[in-house]
C-alpha cells in the first residue's frame, strides 16, 4: 500500500510524520484539506506552544494517576494495574453523523431485544427459518433456563456497548455488539472530565454535546426495570471483585450512582428474595446491575465451581423478585456467528432496512466459505465467537505462517467457534505522538446504549485508539488507548 506524506497548506512542522492512504482520515479529506469541523481544533493545536501542550499532557497524566484510573492485564505477573493510555486530541463527530448513528443503534438494540424475547419464548423467527435453529442452539451462550421466563418490560439487554468502525468510504459500520457486560464507560466519562480541564476554551467553543448525565441515566434505566410493586427499588452493582480487570469501573459506577457495590458473598437468598448482608441486618435488593458473566453468577444454575456468584439467585430471578441487568442468556445475540444475521433480524421484526450496516462475515460452518477463508487467511481476520477483548484472534496480514497453520487446525476442529472477516482498513484520527508531533492512528468508536422505559444513548462513546503505528487492534488489553469523543452541534 502506498502512503503519501501530506503536502500543501498543512506543511506544519507538527505534522512532519503525518501520512495518508486509502483509509478514511478523520481530520483531512481525500484531497488533503482540513475537514471544516476540525479546523478550530487544528488551529488550537498548531498555535499552542509545544511546551504548553507538554505541560497540559503532564497535568492530565497526573489527574489519571491521582484518580487511580487503572485496568488489569490478564496473564502477566502480579501488580499489573496500569493507567489506561489515552490521547489528548479529541475525536470529533459531526451532529449529522451522530444522529444517524443514534438512529441506527436504537433500531439495532430494539430489534435485538425483540429477537431475544422471541428466541426465549415463541421462536417464530426460528420457525420461519430467518435464523437457522442450529446457530442459536449451538451457541454456548444460549440459556435454556430462560425459556418461557418473563422479564420486566421484555428488556433483556438494558446496557449495551456497540463497536463501530468507519470504512474508507466514510460510512460507519457495526463491528460487533457487546450485549453481556460491556465495559469502558468509566473511561469515556473520566476522559471527558480531564479534557474539559485540558482544552477548556476549545471545548466551550465547539458546543460539545454533554455526556455527564450517564450515571443518572443508568440509574433511571435500572429503576425502570425494577420488579412490579417495588416503587423504591434498592439497586446494587455486582462485581466479581477486586481482581477483575474492570474493578475500577465497577466501583466508579457504584459511587457515581450512589448505590452499593456488592460481591457475590454479600448477597443471600431466602425464600427466593435477594438480600444484602449489612451491619444493620439484611436489606432487600431489587435490581442488580451485574458485572459478572452468566457462567459465574449462580453455582446452582450454571457453573458449579464458581465462587463469585450467589447460590439460588436464578430461582429468585425466575420468581420475578429481582431484576438482573442484563438478563441471562443475552450472549446469543452478540455471538459473532449470529452477528451475520442481524440485518435479517432487523428486517424481520421492524420491517426496516438497517441504518448501520454490518461488516462482511464468513461463517465457517459453511464448507464453501470455510475453504475460501482457509485459502485467504493472510487477508482476513479470524475471531473466536465467544471471546472478547482482542483475545483468541488472528489478524491475517500481521500473522506468521505458523500462526495461520494453527488457526487452520483450530477452525477444522471446531468451525462453529470461529468467524472470519476481511481485514478492514478503518479510519484514522490525529493523535499526539511520543515526540510531540501529530500522527494518524486507527480508531473505533464504542457508544453506550441504555434501554429501559426508553432508549438513551449519551452522545459520543469511547473512541479507542491503536496507539502503535500500523496496528489495527484497539483493545486496552492489547496495547490500545482511548481518546475523548466530541459530538458537535445541538
Amino acid at each position: 500500500m502506498t502512503t503519501t506524506p501530506l503536502r500543501g497548506a498543512q506543511d506544519h512542522p507538527l505534522l512532519r510524520d503525518y501520512f495518508m492512504d486509502t483509509a478514511f482520515d478523520e481530520m483531512f479529506d481525500g484531497a488533503g484539506a482540513i475537514r471544516p469541523h476540525y479546523q478550530a481544533l487544528f488551529h488550537e493545536l498548531t498555535t499552542l506552544p509545544p511546551e504548553e501542550i507538554r505541560r497540559r499532557k503532564q497535568s492530565a497524566d497526573a489527574s489519571f494517576l491521582m484518580q487511580g484510573i487503572t485496568f488489569t492485564v490478564y496473564g502477566r505477573d502480579e501488580g499489573t494495574e496500569r493507567i489506561f493510555p489515552y490521547d489528548l486530541i479529541p475525536r470529533l463527530v459531526t451532529g449529522e453523523e451522530w444522529d444517524r448513528i443514534e438512529r441506527g443503534l436504537t433500531q439495532r438494540i430494539t430489534a435485538l431485544n425483540l429477537f431475544l424475547h422471541d428466541v426465549y419464548n415463541d421462536q417464530k423467527i426460528l420457525a420461519q427459518g430467518v435464523v437457522p435453529r442450529e446457530v442459536v442452539y449451538s451457541c454456548q451462550q444460549f440459556r435454556r433456563q430462560m425459556r418461557g421466563l418473563r422479564v420486566p418490560r421484555n428488556v433483556y439487554v438494558a446496557i449495551a456497548g456497540t463497536d463501530l468502525l468507519r470504512l474508507e468510504s466514510g460510512e460507519f459500520v457495526v463491528l460487533e455488539d457487546n450485549l453481556r457486560v460491556p465495559s469502558g464507560v468509566s473511561y469515556m466519562l473520566t476522559n471527558r472530565r480531564i479534557m474539559k480541564r485540558t482544552l477548556p476554551s476549545l471545548f466551550r467553543d465547539y458546543g460539545v454535546r454533554p455526556i455527564d448525565h450517564y450515571p443518572q441515566a443508568l440509574l433511571a434505566t435500572l429503576r425502570s426495570l425494577a420488579p412490579e410493586g417495588r416503587p423504591e427499588p434498592t439497586i446494587v452493582v455486582l462485581t466479581p471483585g477486586v481482581y477483575n480487570s474492570a474493578y475500577f469501573e465497577h466501583t466508579w459506577l457504584a459511587r457515581q450512582m450512589g448505590v452499593e457495590l456488592v460481591e457475590g458473598r454479600d448477597l443471600v437468598i431466602h425464600d427466593n428474595l435477594v438480600y444484602m448482608r449489612t451491619t444493620a441486618g439484611l436489606k432487600r435488593v431489587d435490581v442488580i446491575y451485574r458485572r459478572v458473566d452468566d457462567d459465574f453468577i449462580d453455582p446452582l444454575a450454571f457453573r458449579g465451581d464458581s465462587i463469585l456468584g450467589v447460590a439460588g439467585l436464578f430461582n429468585a430471578y425466575r420468581a420475578g423478585n429481582v431484576t438482573l441487568a442484563n438478563a441471562f442468556g443475552t450472549g446469543i445475540a452478540d455471538d459473532k456467528a449470529l452477528y451475520a444475521y442481524v440485518p435479517a433480524i432487523i428486517k424481520y421484526y421492524l420491517d426496516e432496512d438497517p441504518i448501520l450496516n454490518n461488516v462482511e462475515t464468513y461463517l465457517l460452518t459453511d464448507a464453501k466459505q470455510r475453504s475460501h477463508v482457509k485459502e485467504n487467511l493472510e487477508k482476513l481476520v479470524v475471531k473466536a465467537v465467544g471471546e472478547s477483548g482482542g483475545y483468541g484472534m488472528l489478524v491475517g496480514p500481521q500473522s506468521s505462517s505458523a500462526e495461520r497453520d494453527e488457526f487452520k487446525r483450530k477452525i477444522d476442529a471446531d468451525p462453529r467457534n470461529y468467524i472470519a472477516q476481511p481485514t478492514l482498513l478503518f479510519s484514522r484520527a490525529p493523535c499526539l505522538l511520543e515526540d510531540g508531533s501529530i500522527g494518524p492512528r486507527h480508531v473505533d468508536l464504542r457508544p453506550y446504549i441504555l434501554f429501559g422505559d426508553k432508549v438513551t444513548i449519551v452522545p459520543g462513546g469511547l473512541t479507542r485508539v491503536a496507539l502503535r503505528q500500523g496496528s489495527l487492534v484497539v483493545n486496552s488489553s492489547q496495547g490500545g488507548g482511548s481518546k475523548d469523543t466530541w459530538v458537535l452541534g445541538a
Partner: protein, 331 residues
C-alpha cells in the same frame, strides 16, 4: 454498611495494631539482650513468642529429625528474622502488614485516599526492606518503619476519615487487638517474670522497664509513680489506669464506646448480648482494685479477660458480620 466492608475494616485495623505491638516487642527485647542478664536468650525469645500467641509453629525450633534427635534451637537471628519477615508465619510483622493492606485493598473506596496511600506506602517500604538474609542494620530500619507507619495511618484515619460507622469499626479492631495483646503480655510476665523470688535487682529492674517500654508506658508510668517500680504498681498501671491509652482498661473503655456508637448507627435490635458482655468487662476493670486482683489469682484474672475478649469478637461477628439469615429476619 455491608458486612463484608465492616469485616475488612476490622481486620485492617487489628493487623496494623498487631504489627505495631510485635515490632515494639522485638525492638525492646533486642535492646535487653545487650545487657548481661540471667535470662537466657532462648528463654527470652520463648517469652516473646508466647506474647505474640505463637509459641508453636513459628520456626522456633527445627523439626525433630527422623532419628528422633530433639528439635534444635534456631538462634536469635533466624527467629527474629522469621518474626519480622516470614510471610508463611501468620504472626510475623510482614504477614500482618500484607494482611492489613489486602483487606484495605478490598475496600479501597471505603477508606480515604490518604489512608490508602499511607498503608500502601508502608507495604512498598516493607517489600523493599525484606531481604533473604537476616541483617541487624536491616532490622534497625525495619522496626521503626513499622511503628511510624502505623502511627501515620492512625493519624490520617482520625483526620481524614469521617467519624461515622466505618471509623468506629476501625476503632473496635484497634482496641480489641490492643486489649488482647496487652493482656496476653501481662499474662506471660505474671508467669515468667514477676514470680522470681531470688531476684537480682538490677536485672529485674531492666526487665520491668522493658515491659513498660513495650507498652510505651515508661514515661507515663513515671509521671504517676516516679521511677519507683514494683510488681503491684506496674500491673495496676498497665491493667487498670483509666487515662493511659495502652492500658487494658483504657482499651476496653474505648472498645465499649465504639461498639455503642455502632449500635446507634445501625439501630440493630440484636446487639443486646454483645453490649452486655462488653459492658460487663468494662465494669469489671473499672471497679477492680489491684490488691484484690493480686490477692486472688492474677493469672486467672488475666485469662478471664482474654476469654471475654474472644467472646466479644465472636459476638461482633454474630451481630454484624456472619449472622444467620433466620436470626436477621426474626427481628
Amino acid at each position: 454498611m455491608l458486612s463484608r466492608v465492616a469485616d475488612s475494616l476490622y481486620w485492617t485495623s487489628r493487623y496494623l495494631e498487631r504489627a505495631e505491638h510485635t515490632a515494639r516487642l522485638i525492638d525492646i527485647n533486642m535492646g535487653l539482650m545487650l545487657d548481661r542478664s540471667r535470662v537466657s536468650a532462648e528463654r527470652r525469645w520463648q517469652r516473646v513468642l508466647s506474647a505474640v500467641g505463637s509459641a508453636q509453629g513459628l520456626g522456633w525450633h527445627d523439626e525433630p529429625d527422623a532419628n528422633g534427635e530433639p528439635a534444635r534451637w534456631l538462634g536469635v537471628t533466624a527467629l527474629v528474622h522469621a518474626l519480622c519477615f516470614d510471610t508463611t508465619k501468620h504472626a510475623s510483622i510482614t504477614a500482618c502488614i500484607f494482611g492489613a493492606r489486602e483487606n484495605a485493598r478490598q475496600i479501597r473506596d471505603e477508606i480515604s485516599t490518604e489512608q490508602w496511600q499511607r498503608l500502601n506506602g508502608l507495604f512498598h517500604e516493607i517489600s523493599r526492606l525484606r531481604t533473604a538474609s537476616p541483617s541487624e542494620r536491616n532490622l534497625a530500619e525495619f522496626l521503626p518503619t513499622i511503628i511510624d507507619g502505623v502511627h501515620l495511618f492512625q493519624g490520617v484515619t482520625d483526620t481524614t476519615l469521617s467519624h461515622g460507622e466505618g471509623w468506629q469499626v476501625l476503632r473496635v479492631g484497634r482496641y480489641l487487638e490492643r486489649a488482647w495483646s496487652l493482656t496476653t503480655l501481662l499474662d506471660v510476665y505474671e508467669r515468667e517474670v514477676f514470680l522470681g523470688e531470688d531476684s537480682d535487682d538490677a536485672s529485674e529492674y531492666l526487665e520491668w522497664v522493658g515491659l513498660l517500654r513495650i507498652c510505651t508506658a515508661f514515661e507515663a508510668f513515671c509521671r504517676v509513680h516516679t521511677a519507683d517500680l514494683s510488681h503491684e504498681r506496674i500491673l495496676e498501671f498497665l491493667l487498670l489506669d483509666p487515662d493511659f491509652p495502652h492500658s487494658v482498661r483504657y482499651s476496653v473503655d474505648a472498645l465499649h464506646n465504639a461498639l455503642e456508637a455502632i449500635q446507634q448507627h445501625t439501630r440493630t435490635q440484636r446487639g443486646g448480648e454483645l453490649m452486655r458482655v462488653a459492658g460487663r468487662l468494662k465494669a469489671t476493670l473499672g471497679f477492680a482494685q489491684i490488691a484484690e486482683v493480686l490477692a486472688q489469682d492474677p493469672v486467672r484474672y488475666l485469662r478471664r479477660i482474654l476469654e471475654q475478649c474472644r467472646e466479644i469478637h465472636d459476638l461482633i461477628y454474630a451481630v454484624y458480620i456472619q449472622y444467620s439469615v433466620e436470626a436477621a429476619l426474626a427481628v
